[in-house]
């Protein structure tokens, strides 16, 4: 059993049709492979109806600007759905026990040897802005190579 890490992003999405109803957030960079990835969303009491918040877990793609501090585009969808509504809801939206590659990168638009971003795209379908919380958890794997 290795070391685990956890990072939480606070995400504010404008109302549907607003400037930023769709936002991407991502896991932290790492120089070693990962496994046992888990991604959770807490609706912070603002998602009250099913279908109001859609999510899409994406691996890969590219950083359009500064990696981990910019815009991300593309990638391969691993799983997508909408979270169930409630006065408050927290849901694990994705887990995998596969090995995930290192995701540190050389620079914008240049993944080269070690770039494989782990990204969650959120889309607000509500007529009002919402703020939710996305948590990434994973186990860091030691290297012997």
């Amino acid at each position: 059993m290795g070391q685990f890490r956890q990072t939480t992003h606070e995400v504010t999405l404008t109302a549907a049709g607003g400037a930023t109803p769709t936002v991407r957030v991502w896991d932290l960079p790492t120089s070693v492979p990962l496994t046992k990835l888990s991604i959770a969303i807490s609706s912070a009491g603002v998602i009250t109806a099913a279908g109001n918040l859609a999510w899409n877990v994406v691996f890969g793609g590219k950083w359009v600007q500064t990696p981990f501090n910019s815009v991300h585009s593309g990638g391969i969808s691993q799983l997508n759905n909408v979270i169930a509504g409630g006065a408050e809801i927290a849901a694990v939206v994705y887990t995998t026990n596969n090995i995930l590659a290192t995701n540190n990168v050389v620079g914008p638009n240049t993944m080269e040897k070690n770039g494989l971003p782990i990204v969650l795209e959120l889309t607000n379908a509500k007529a009002a802005a919402v703020t939710v919380y996305v948590t990434f958890i994973s186990e860091i794997l030691g290297m012997n190579a």
Binding site: M1, G2, V32, P33, T35, F59, G60, G61, K62, W63, S73, G74, G75, I76, N97, N98, I99, L100, A101, T102, N109, T110, M111, E112, K113, N114, G115, L116, P117, L141, G142, M143, N144, A145
Partner: protein
Amino acid sequence: MGQFRQTVKTVTLSATGGATDVVRVWDAASSVPITKLAITISSGHEVAPAGDLDYDVLYGGGWCGTPFDPDTTHIGGVSQASGTITGSAEIAQYLHTDTDILPANNAAGPNSMRLYGFPIVVELTNDKVVPVTVYVTFISEILGTHY
């Protein structure tokens, strides 16, 4: 949880119809079994439209020259997954994952795998009219053995 290893191959393919528009690369040699294999590719910012780069993940096959040597040739094998990478200015993606236990892949010699030969190979085919350089990463967990 065992130790993991990672190896990255830089692959340059000539333009479609060129001398090296199809190239095979492989995981590093191992004298013990491995598991939790993951193979990824980064397009190196050169594969733009979808369909410009095809891949085929192969297990087994034969070495025609010195096993694992960068200048050797690998032929045959059994396809595990194949497709084309999605294009964009840059793209990174998984080609293949496998949590099965895979045999040791060190080999006795050219065309003679004998007891321990089980290459893990990716074949790349460039469909572009210009050369491209991409990066293929192999990650796996090394399993101890007890004879």
